[in-house]
Point group: C2
């Protein structure tokens, strides 16, 4: 039995998230179906993350087991030839028998793109949150600084999040101004449900001046979701990279 | 009566091209409907170009007439608020009474993007032709050189093209290598149906070595569509800019 790790890129716009749901188009559902018609086996795919509907990935690790000895090039080529254009397999690689993409991950980077230009972009619309207001990036950076370190992030998780531990190690929250966009790049050991989107929604409140940068520290300390900003919409979010030891 | 010029950006993937067709989703159809519900008038929209299904635009000039005196900012904001995310209005401006976006144009630039990396890209798939083969860009540049000047481009138009004159002034055909892509940027006074796509299909034959660069001159001189390469798929093509005196 071989353990195969795929790296997946997808445009999440037309998917109801990663996780299989009967009757809905999901990344897990489409990939499982395509893989099974290639291997003639049954597969239970596991991924590093359960992305929400509309959220994208640049390189999401996904694991499956197989008895077949298809070469890696054949797996990549075969899947890319059969998958719809909004999923691409970047790489396939054999892993040790006990490897798990979720439990073995030690860090993840997410990127959130906010388009601040007054005019929307038809070409970028699937990948950005259009928020046509000037954002004070320096204030957002100051606010973001309060999130760095090991904290209880209860204030930044969805009500329906079922994580037992709410402590996370936040290594970086970078707020970067580009010509028409502001990017928020977040690096932590792990994330809870909607965590990046609530964090971005909160930093945007700082950016428009409704929250002071110091409010971020208070919200974090409160552990109270209702004090944080709104959940930013899914289309700006992309899982960029997942790290293993 | 005011003559208004809009500049339109659109992702052509989910449209059956520009031109209104009953029962099909077209750019003209969606824009007309949205505009009419804003102005409460009837409009006959005219554009610089009749793009094919799947072809994109960065800035396509579109004209309509109105009796209403909505300010330009209101037109742009109102349309962008009501249009689907795959169309954006970049600008609105008043033009002289006799202005026509098609007949007054003196030049157009189209960009064609070919993805040459072996792996497809799920994020770029709507905007590139995935052609995972090494392309000899120097040979393509040499072949492209034969197209510059004033020529009869009959060999590079679709069978169903109804242009009366087949002579065009070709000012530039630039072939540019990027990391994962090859771009073909074409600048002429005007284009015939499928002209850029046949031209790209022909240059790709040069790039893979099935045609010699000099064959492009012969194909052009022959005026025979059957001697040119295949029509490149629509998704790589984008109308970039239209020029007026």
């Amino acid at each position: 039995m071989r353990i195969i790790r795929l790296l997946l890129e997808f445009d999440g716009t037309d998917f109801h998230g990663w996780q299989h749901q009967p009757g809905l188009r999901t990344v897990q559902g489409v990939l499982t179906e395509t893989l099974e018609s290639m291997t003639r086996e049954s597969h239970l795919l596991r991924s590093s993350s359960r992305t929400d509907a509309g959220v994208h990935a640049r390189a999401m690790p996904v694991m499956f087991k197989t008895e077949r000895d298809i070469p890696f090039r054949g797996i990549v080529r075969g899947l890319n030839g059969a998958l719809p254009r909004d999923i691409a397999v970047l790489d396939a690689k054999e892993m040790p028998a006990d490897w798990d993409p979720r439990w073995n991950s030690v860090g993840k980077i997410y990127l959130y793109r906010i388009r601040t230009a007054s005019i929307p972009s038809a070409h970028e619309a699937r990948f950005v949150w259009h928020m046509p207001r000037p954002l004070n990036v320096e204030a957002m950076q100051e606010g973001a600084g309060h999130l760095i370190g090991t904290h209880d992030f209860s204030a930044f998780r969805a009500a329906e999040c079922d994580s037992v531990s709410t402590e996370r190690n936040m290594w970086a929250v970078d707020v970067i101004r580009l010509e028409d966009e502001v990017h928020v790049r977040v690096h932590a050991n792990a994330f809870m449900r909607n965590m990046v989107r609530i964090l971005v929604g909160t930093l945007v409140e700082v950016g428009v001046g409704r929250f002071a940068p110091g409010d971020v520290a208070e919200i974090l300390a409160s552990g109270d979701r209702t004090k944080a900003g709104r959940t930013a919409p899914p289309q700006g979010l992309c899982l960029q990279e997942v790290f293993y030891e």
